[in-house]
C-alpha cells in the first residue's frame, strides 16, 4: 500500500458523505446509556434510581436487578466517601452497555486513586469473633468482588476507571 497521500476525488468524497458507511449497521453499539453526575453522597440515591430504571428499560431481568443495584450502590458510595473524601465532589460518569448475555458498567471519577492504585482485596470480614470485635465495615469491596463476574480497575492521568461485568446468562449468585 502506498503511503503517499493522494487527494480523494471530489465525486468519491461526496459519495462517502452521502452513503452511510456499511460498518454502522453491522457494528451498531450495544444498547446502553451514560449518566453524568457529581460525586456527592446525596447524588447516590437518585443516580441509582435513574440507572436501575434505565436498566429496566433495557430489559435487565428481575432476578439480576437487586444484585446490580447493590454493586452499583457500593461502588458509587465508595466514590463519594473515599475518592472524593476531603475535597469538593468532582464529576462521575457511569456508562452501561447491555446485551442479553452481559452487562458492563464503567464508572469514571477524578478523585483520589484506590490505595496502591489497585483493586482492594475482596476478602469477607471475619464474623467468627466476639461481639465487641464484630466488623462494622469492609463488606463493600467483598460484595463488589463476590457479585460481579469480572472487575477491572485502571488509574490513568487523573482518572479512576472501574469496570464491572455481570454474566447475565446464569442466575445471580444466590448468597
Amino acid at each position: 500500500m502506498s503511503l503517499i497521500w493522494r487527494p480523494v476525488p471530489l465525486a468519491k468524497r461526496r459519495a462517502r458523505r452521502m452513503d452511510p458507511p456499511q460498518t454502522v449497521a453491522t457494528s451498531r453499539p450495544f444498547p446502553g446509556f451514560t449518566l453524568h453526575f457529581s460525586g456527592a453522597a446525596t447524588d447516590v440515591p437518585p443516580v441509582l434510581r435513574q440507572a436501575l430504571s434505565k436498566l429496566d428499560t433495557l430489559g435487565l431481568a428481575a432476578d439480576w436487578r437487586s444484585t446490580v443495584e447493590l454493586v452499583l450502590a457500593e461502588t458509587l458510595n465508595n466514590i463519594a466517601e473515599h475518592a472524593y473524601a476531603g475535597q469538593p465532589p468532582g464529576p462521575v460518569t457511569l456508562t452501561a452497555r447491555m446485551t442479553p448475555e452481559r452487562l458492563c458498567v464503567i464508572l469514571r471519577d477524578q478523585g483520589c486513586p484506590l490505595p496502591g492504585q489497585k483493586l482492594p482485596e475482596g476478602r469477607a470480614p471475619n464474623t467468627d469473633v466476639p461481639c465487641a470485635s464484630l466488623p462494622e465495615g469492609g463488606f463493600g469491596w467483598f460484595l463488589i468482588h463476590d457479585l460481579t463476574t469480572a472487575l477491572h480497575y485502571r488509574r490513568t492521568d487523573q482518572e479512576n476507571r472501574l469496570q464491572l461485568e455481570f454474566d447475565l446468562t446464569a442466575p445471580p449468585k444466590p448468597g
Binding site: 440515591p45 437487586s66 450502590a73 465487641a132 465495615g137
Partner: protein, 112 residues
Amino acid sequence: MPLQQTQTDDIKIITVNLPRIDAAVAIQFKDSMREATETGPDHIVLDLSNVSFVDSSGLGAIVASKKQLPSGKKIDLAGLTPDVAKVFRLTRMDSVFRIYAHVSDLASRAAG
C-alpha cells in the same frame, strides 16, 4: 428516623418503617437504635419486614446496633425480605444474629 417501638412484658419490638437502610441513613439509624435500645426489656427484636434494601453501610449500622447494646441485652432480627437476607448470608452475618422469619413467631412465643 421512623423506628416504631412496641413493647410486651419481656420483648421490645423495633419496626423499621423505611424502605432502605443505606449509606444515606446509616449513621442516623445507629444513633436512633442506641436511643431505642437504652430502656425497656432486655430482649429486643428488630423487625426488618418493611426494608427491601440494605447496603454494606446499612449492614454495618445493624451490626453496630448489636455492639452498642447495654450489657445484658440482646437483639434478634425478624422479617428479612429476600434481598436483605441475601446480604446477611453473603457476609455471614446470618450466623451472628438469631433471625426469625416473622416477628409474629416471637410475639406468639412470648405470649404462650
